[in-house]
């Protein structure tokens, strides 16, 4: 009785609590990213200015860079200046391109956002039905062969790194070995959206395998629960037991696990962009690291980090829509 009353009290506005809590969380993550990106430059071994100026620089160059980075000022002063700049939208100027970093980000963001969001949608839309289907077909130890085959195929595809998969896809679908050359092997503006097909395919195959294995395992767990026996006892038809009774429970546990896989997918996107020469944030940050273009690195760390945080938030919102109880805290305990 007592705990029922407590639950009622809490359920007044779970979404409001959630929103407040997550906004604070986002702010905290932003702060951490700000500090981390700031520290990247501070932690460069030796004299950052000399390091940045390169081997051929003379003392004047080094002094200029030192002043430009504000390295001649105390640490806290530099951080305040840096944070102030970022917050007012001034992300600095690229060493390499002599161009505002903000412009570079604006040009590159759409590419990364497209393949990341499309990738996540595809992973969830394919992996959940697939894993559930296999889970239902193999429940209680039925169809051993299917279980083994599914385990082997997904295990194999899962162990192929995204960039190797990408080269394989290029060989198969872009170069005309085996199949017709359907898609461009590298990003070409005139192909438009067709340019995105292979990159997205390359980043989703691994996560689809991982997530569908999770779903398959969770399906077995959920179908073994007592409430499934209740549904069975009420002789509900199979589709109702699977879709209406099992699916919501399955989704909560699956999405909780998949959040990790999906943020990992961002990491995959960073590498894949290099294979397909997509001018996105991933290839951008890698090029910037090679060029030691620190203002660009700093800004991209913040932006990519915030994208990951937003994706996590998205997953939690989805979870909340499916089962309001998950809004209560970060740990699903029930």
């Amino acid at each position: 009785m007592a705990h029922a009353a407590v639950a009622e009290h809490r359920s007044t506005s779970p979404w409001l609590h959630f929103a407040v809590r997550r906004l604070i969380g986002l702010a905290a993550i932003f702060l951490v990213l700000l500090v981390v990106s700031f520290l990247i430059v501070q932690l460069i071994p030796g004299d950052p200015a000399a390091g940045l100026a390169g081997a051929n620089a003379d003392l004047a160059d080094i002094e200029r860079i030192r002043h430009q980075l504000g390295l001649d000022q105390p640490l806290w002063q530099r951080f305040i200046d840096y944070a102030g700049g970022v917050l007012s939208g001034d992300l600095g100027t690229s060493f390499m391109y002599r161009q505002p970093v903000l412009t570079i980000i604006e040009n590159r963001l759409p590419f990364t956002a497209t393949i990341a969001l499309a990738g996540i949608a595809i992973v969830l839309l394919v992996a959940i039905p697939l894993g559930m289907l296999i889970g239902v077909l193999t429940q209680g130890g039925r169809r051993k062969w299917l279980d083994t085959g599914f385990g082997f195929v997904t295990g194999f595809l899962d162990s192929v790194p995204g960039y190797v998969m990408a080269t394989f896809l290029v060989v198969m679908f872009a170069l005309g070995i085996g199949v017709l050359p359907l898609f461009p092997p590298a990003y070409t503006p005139r192909f438009g959206s067709a340019s995105f097909v292979l990159p997205i395919a390359a980043i989703v195959i691994g996560p689809i395998c991982t997530v569908s294995r999770v779903v398959r395992r969770e399906t077995a767990v959920v179908l073994g629960n007592d409430y499934q026996r209740t549904a069975h006892g009420w002789r509900l038809p199979a589709w109702k037991r699977y879709i209406k009774w099992a699916l919501p429970n399955l989704l909560t546990s699956t999405l909780t696990v998949s959040g990790l896989v999906l943020t990992g997918l961002i990491g995959g996107a960073v590498v894949i962009e290099s294979v397909f020469a997509l001018p996105g944030l991933g290839s951008g940050i890698i090029k910037a690291i090679l060029d030691r273009d620190y203002p660009v690195i700093q800004a991209m760390v913040i932006v990519i980090g915030m994208i990951a945080a937003l994706i996590n938030l998205l997953v939690d919102i989805l979870l909340g829509l499916i089962d309001e109880r998950t809004l209560g805290g970060s740990h699903v305990s029930a």
Binding site: M1, I40, D158, W234, W245, I286, I304
Partner: protein, 549 residues
Amino acid sequence: MSRRRNLGLVLGLSLLGVVVVIAVLAPILFKTGADELGQRFAPPSADHWLGTDAAGHDVLLRSLVATRLTLLMTVAATAIAVALGVLLGTSVWLMPRRLRELCLRAIDAMVAFPGLLLALVVAAVLGAGGSSAVIAIGVAGIPYFARLTGNLAAKVSQREFVSTARLLGVSPVRIAFRHLLPNMSEPLLVLSASTFAGTLTAISALSFVGLGVQSPSYDWGKLLNEALPSLLADRPFQLVGPAVLIVVTGLAAVLIGDGLAAAANPRAARTAAGGASTRRTSQGTPRDGYLVDVQELSIEYDGKQLVKGISFGIRQGEILGIVGESGSGKTLTAMALAQLLPDGLISNATRMTLGDLDLLGPVPPGLMAQTVGLVYQDPGSTFNPALRMGTQLTEVLRTHRRLGAQAARRRIIDALGTVRLSKPEQRMKQHPHELSGGMRQRAMIAAALATEPRLIIADEPTTALDVTVQAEILRELKRLNSEFGTSIMVISHDIGVVRALCHRVIVMYQGKAVEEIEAAHLTVASAQHSYTKALLEATPELTLENSHG
């Protein structure tokens, strides 16, 4: 199944063995060959099986030689992630509670972050290079491993042997080494295998994008990087060597991980599912006066008889109790009657009927749902936690009576009123976890009632409830029986419960009915069978007559 999984483990270990042999021998045997310069971009030939690269190196030899560096880097980075991750994940559980919460939150936040981005940050600070790639990937793997270790440690430290050790005065560090780590070793080994696979991919990725190993050194990722322009120039064979080696090594790690997991988990060995009953129609002669007539029911699993030829009947309006200890087969008997035996169990009987329904043959689900109502043991888990009570309770009526949403709702609210659940309309909108155990059990009984069944099977209906709530639920069942004349079959381990509730009781022991007796005669003096007497004597009583103190 377990044999096949072990096959995977064997395959994985042999693949890894081959790769390790290559790593040891290739640099000794082929180092000079790999550095020799020949014709540039040569296609595959007898001299160069996989062709040559842009500088004229033999691609196959270079791929083989690169194995050692790649493996060493992967092992080093994995070691960093595993060692520091285990250290962090375990020590979190030895911290005071507040600090632990804080650390767990921090680890959670870091895990939610793409590891590769963290690796890029480290690479940006340290500059491109092999050792910075190892540190970057190793460090990036720490939070993930720490979290998994933390989850495992959380599970183990909840077990009572850990809290007991703490109470005995065993120091936290000793608890970690003596109890936590040994009980986590198998899953940690499995996770290390998958971490190895992930690390291989990630380190190769860094080299592949140019942030890892720098010329003149080379690992597989670097070779892939060098081969990329060739791919676009229609010379894909240059990729084959490193790509195959990466995939084979990764696959070996995954197979080893899966194989270890399967070996650590003996529960996976379950035999295939079979049909519920083997005989299609009832043969035995019907016995007069019984609504339920079960003759010679036996249930077996994997060739082992769990229920050994039990016969019983339930009269119209009668409450029959089946009492016995765990393993006596009482629940299986009830589930066979309800046609709800779990997969793999095979039932056999000469006769099993309920009124004019032959329960040995197929019965239409709708008819079955409306003939037999079920009440289960643990009201905490019988309802679907994700759905509102109303949605679940109305489901039977909507499915089998084809009632509309409103009509079904009204019927259920009536039924909830009948079992005297407070505020029925509000309960319909609530989720199961918002109700107490007693409320949920009342709701379950209401759902069983709503279809006006001829028989209610209640399997340990009060075992999970407090004694005062148990009394209420028992009274409720008794009242439904006397008001509506519904026959009830009650399964319980508690002689007190069946004696109070039932008219007649069957005592089961090791799959057999050892005694059938009127509930009123269920005393040490009147019972015939020695097991019944022993059971009665073992049951603690409030009155001190038969105590052994």
